[in-house]
Symmetry: C2
Subunit: 271 residues, 2 copies
Amino acid sequence: MENIKIIIASDSIGETAELVARACVSQFNPKECKHEFLRYPYIESFENIDEVIQVAHDKNAIIVYTLVKPEIKTYMQQKIKEYNLQSIDIMGPLMNLLNESYDENPYNQPGRVHRLDDAYFKKIDAIEFAVKYDDGKDPKGLPKADIVLIGVSRTSKTPLSQYLAHKSYKVMNVPIVPEVTPPENLFEIDPSKCIALRISEEKLNRIRKQRLKQLGLGDSARYANEARIKEEISYFEDIVERIGCPVIDVSDKAIEETANDVIHLIEQQAK
Amino acid sequence: MENIKIIIASDSIGETAELVARACVSQFNPKECKHEFLRYPYIESFENIDEVIQVAHDKNAIIVYTLVKPEIKTYMQQKIKEYNLQSIDIMGPLMNLLNESYDENPYNQPGRVHRLDDAYFKKIDAIEFAVKYDDGKDPKGLPKADIVLIGVSRTSKTPLSQYLAHKSYKVMNVPIVPEVTPPENLFEIDPSKCIALRISEEKLNRIRKQRLKQLGLGDSARYANEARIKEEISYFEDIVERIGCPVIDVSDKAIEETANDVIHLIEQQAK
């Protein structure tokens, strides 16, 4: 069995290179194809490069890199050639195309994607908003939110809100439970910014049983009871009809996929 | 002034391709070098490819793609060649290297990086944990947390906790305010899992004045008052000394950069 070593080298933190590497290794059976990431962030000197090259040479590692400073990048490429190493330049090919298309030269400054600009602070505000207005805690968030998510318990409302917040949307989520009357202004907001998360009975049953097991409780508790689940889902459908909002089925989706659907719906309705 | 169109085409949601594209365009002056992303997620048929090719041809767009199904990818590459279009294959080069290194063939299934496996549920739990234990709300989270962040108000504790949660760390954050005695068990946890976020007086003053302006309040309020800031920072330093935990200066860092430092510290201490 092979254990491939992958060096993530970057003059910033290296998350772009790591995401590409993760997407690629996820295509291989993890039982047969082992991998190990070795992270080298903040590469800023020839000495840093020398260290990476040494490790790649010793461990027969693939170097996956994002480097924007020309002298650092050129040195890396020379050394890779000199030692005949395997490597992938993540940003280089697209940077070359953009360089041909734009008249202006690039900044060649590491970490510009993380700079503290308006977009950054908008994202930070969105993350704080989603934490503050999680779980319908304060109905005052409803008119301020870009997106309002509703759903029964265990439909991933909280992580989905956070994922959308990282894309700079202000998201509030409101749990739908038969015993709790939803805030009155949920029925007053623009229904096109409200998205209902639907889940199948079978799936909900499975998730909740799993949850009870995690919590060390038996699976006969009311929370995972089939009649109870039917009651909750039927109450949820009533609320959805009253609001008149679009619905996304989340039964077999990862939050990244549901988030993509939510953004698509919201952007379409905004047109 | 050029406005470059970049098509993000993927047989999954396309976030890997978009992150690479964002990192690249952020290297150009946004005032002079405009860009526009056109997203085509869930590419699964030749018809979907034909649509992308048509748009790329009509709008002179660069196609940045992540495609793992061989027949879909081959068709895309044929069409790109046929129409003489500009394109970047994000995963292809590394997939080729991995194919050479591993004996097994890849799955070639789109979206595997988002599959609902143990790692996925660990991440979801971490995100929910960070929301639940945000702002020191419940000291019971302290022994359960992988990382405990402490800091005065406006040191980005909440978004930083969320960012680390997306990397599957269970994070609790505790605000340090002179008027509020921190929970007693903050001094009982392993100090190596606690990280103090330090910020300079000048920076804190600037952030808080900005914050007050946003909230529509004057900047003379107690919150941004210099004597008050000195008092808060001095109290913070006392607490840090009592706990004996490592400190990270966050004054000029984006949360992604601070998160990288936190993970580095935590991983080092775990060794």
